[in-house]
Amino acid sequence: MARESYDLYERETDLLPVNFEGGTLTEIQGRVSGFATCRVVAEGKAGYHTAFGVGDEELVARATEAAAYGPELDVDLPGPAPLEAIEVYAEDLAAVPAGELVAWGRRIIDGVRDGLGRELPVTVKLTREIERFAVRNSAGVDYRHAATALDVFAQVADAQEGDIHDVFDFEYSSELAGVDPDRMVRTIVDYFERGRETASFPTGTATVLIHPFALPQFLLPLLVGMDGERIKDGTSPLGDKVGERIFSDRITVTDDPFRPGLPASAPFDGEGVVARRRPLVEEGVLRSFNHTLETAKAIGHEPTGGARRGPGGKPTGGVFNLVMEAGETPYEEILSSLDRGLFLRYMSGSGQANNLAGEFSMGVYSAFLVENGRLAKRLKNVMVAGNVYDVFQRVAAVSAERICSWVDNGGNALMPYVLLEGVPVAGS
């Protein structure tokens, strides 16, 4: 970096949430918020400042003040480069009137009630999102990007004392046509019907079929271990594992910034690093870390892209879209081949265990007992706990189908169903 250099990241988020509570439309919101965050390196020291609406010059001046006390920093800011075209801004979605979202919400509520034949309370939250962000730096980068997203969450509940039976579904896309309210209705009704009876599971080990919603929760320790900051400070168990096999060879995970339909797809990251498709784990072999410019330079690695910027100032390493390669077996075939096991759709308590060490320990939030190849009963009071670097050695199958999912701490994901053997379970 030159003697004095800077980079700026600016973001504006425009949300239109439409909320139904218990089947009744109660609220329409418009939420607009933005910030610009600046990093200055002056005399070899870094300072950060974040504000709204003050202009680049003023931001740089304020960050320069903070740099006087700041840490020494050595980064090479990227210069301008050609960007890959990725279209995740849909005009029709950006302009969708609240009334259309209201109509979608009613369709989901009516569909779920008709499907179940009961007037149960249905919560629906539909949010239209427009996100614009820009990166400018002293090396001449001046990029901007915009994305639209439609998020639709729907949940039905049948509450009795001692057992609240609720089922949710969540779909999102950068395009209106990417979310299908009727498919959400079918999903909710189907899981609800299969969960009428409840069961537990004895303590021991089990074969578990992990739904695409729960899969990123299981992969969270991998993301924590791949964090460039953890590689730099030597606390990650993955620091010396690039090129080594950490998972079963059935597992391939990629950061794919160019996925149509996924709103987090973008041609550059929060530091102006040009996005590229990047294998993280290839047939079980660790291939990459998630660096910022700072962590990459500190340990002599190439920048990876995927860095995120928030109002906190300092960039953090990450991914655009966490994408797992599909397998060859149809999901229905995997399920029907399972005589007895657990089907885990969504877990509670993700991210609380010693993730850095690879540990996970989660309770079931939405899960089923599988018997004779069918989802037989809804599981309650069951936990799974173990180490990802152990259980992902025993991958018995990866489905051919994939579903849009998400990483709990932010980020889009595209995931298949994965069958794991010998997962430790605690139940009764």
């Binding site: 329409i28 609406g53 309370p121 004392e161 010693n354 850095l356």
Partner: protein
């Protein structure tokens, strides 16, 4: 500092609405991070935020923004949204006009402490952590926030508040057989720089606890009788029970409202849970007025096992014919308020901690939570525990989770100890996309039978 009241719209700006409120805030935050002897970052954030919220024809409209001078545009937007809801049945419980000017409480205002001093104290903590043989990496976080807020509504209330919030943490990581183990001590108080200076006193105890954690072996999963310490019991009260008491979860769900009907027996006689906004002005959960301009209060949620209170916003109280409790809170002025907790407490019982362990006999003593998620089926990750034999803690264990069904667990509470401890840690409460909201906890030790422990 400019007077935010100058930007407030008036009644004439809101034709034909049933209720309106406006919140404006200017916030400045300084953050210092030191890690392994190096300054990681010095950062400052300065934000204006505001919103207008309107109730018209039974529907809510909300519009948030960053430019105070655009507030009247957002009045129009919020009114349009509310009318688009059309023919809703939402209402509010009215309140007499409130006027207040709230001053922040602090010994040393953070703006009067030079950055060099903040850095010097942070560096000294980092050195203290790294001087310990078991510590492989050390991190110190310092943060101060100064906020100027104003609230106004159609009842004629104008509440202006200055807030000074201190937040800090010391984090140490050691390794057992190459496996990293982390422990931390943290605070979030309505206080000035003095809170950071006090953090240093906690470091020796934390390091001793880290050593005990490093020596612990993996716990075995299964069903145990447990004594949980105040740091995890407080999180249980908040996550598992407190969230269930937030009326906006059930006010439009007749079946769940029946489950949560006041007067029902939900727990054993040994357990009483309270949410108290006014307990101690230093706690992060202290709240004089909520974000609907309603005074904070003490609400007994569960009295010796019987459900006696719900947490309300104006809307849920109107719908359920409940009393206002002052629990409508937003993360900041970019968000609409949701029903949220303040300081959530399990009230103390009669027994001593030794009595509880004696009564436990064989089982597990669980110490501290790394976090949790609540609702009917809750999960908390414990930092460390002890196997208990003949009423005495023996082998330290780790890597386990406490999980269960709320209703079953509340009935399985056998006893609470007579000493309540209060916590106001750096983390916060998350609901939807509003995280981290400042909250505090308090609890005695609690004896629970038949708890499900997830281990290896």
């Amino acid at each position: 500092m400019e007077d935010l009241r100058d930007y407030l719209p008036g009644p004439a700006d809101f034709p034909a609405v049933d209720y309106w409120e406006v919140r404006l805030e200017a916030e400045a935050q300084t953050t210092v991070k030191v890690k392994n002897g190096e300054v990681e970052a010095i950062a400052r954030q300065e934000f204006p935020r505001g919103n207008v919220r309107v109730l018209a024809r039974g529907g809510w409209g909300f519009s948030s923004f960053n430019r105070f001078e655009e507030v009247r545009d957002h009045v129009g937007r919020a009114v349009d949204f509310a009318r688009s809801v059309g023919g809703g049945d939402a209402g509010v419980v009215p309140l007499a006009s409130q006027e207040a000017e709230l001053r922040a409480r602090y010994d040393q205002h953070p703006d009067e402490v030079p950055l060099a001093k903040k850095l010097e104290v942070a560096r000294s903590y980092d050195e203290l952590l790294r001087a310990h043989a078991a510590v492989a990496t050390a991190e110190v976080l310092y943060e101060d926030t100064v906020r100027d807020k104003v609230f106004a509504n159609s009842e004629g209330s104008v509440i202006r508040a200055e807030e000074v919030v201190a937040r800090g943490a010391v984090i140490a990581t050691g390794k057992t057989d190459g496996v990293p183990e982390t422990h931390s001590e943290s605070y979030r108080y309505r206080a000035g720089f003095e809170a950071f200076e006090a953090l240093g006193e906690t470091i020796p105890v934390m390091l001793a606890e880290l050593e005990e954690q490093l020596a612990a072996v993996d716990a075995r999963g299964g069903t145990y009788n447990v004594v949980i310490n105040p740091k995890i019991a407080g999180v249980f009260a908040h996550e598992a029970f407190g969230h269930t008491s937030e009326a906006d979860h059930f006010y439009r769900d007749p079946q769940l409202s029946e489950v949560m009907r006041l007067g029902r027996t939900m727990g054993s006689e040994a357990i009483t849970i309270v949410d108290d906004a006014m307990l101690d002005p230093k706690l992060a959960g202290f709240l004089e007025y909520d974000d609907e301009g309603v005074p904070g209060s003490r609400t007994v949620l569960l009295d010796r096992g019987i459900l006696t209170g719900h947490l309300h916003s104006r809307t849920t109280a109107a719908h359920m014919d409940g009393e206002l409790t002052g629990n409508a809170r937003a993360l900041n002025a970019s968000f609409p308020p949701l029903v949220r907790m303040t300081t959530t407490l399990i009230e103390p019982g009669e027994a001593t901690e030794e009595d509880l362990l004696r009564e436990l006999g064989e089982g597990l003593l669980v110490k501290d939570s790394r976090g949790g998620s609540g609702g009917e089926n809750f999960t908390f990750n414990a930092r460390v525990g002890y196997l208990v034999e003949n009423g005495k803690p023996t082998q330290p264990v780790k890597n386990f989770t406490l999980t269960g069904n709320l209703f079953t667990t509340l009935k399985n509470v056998v006893a609470c100890s007579n000493r309540q401890e209060k916590y106001s840690t750096a983390g916060g409460c998350g609901r939807g996309d509003q995280f981290p909201l400042p909250v505090s906890f308090g609890s005695p030790h609690v004896l629970i039978k038949d708890a499900l422990i997830g281990g290896k």
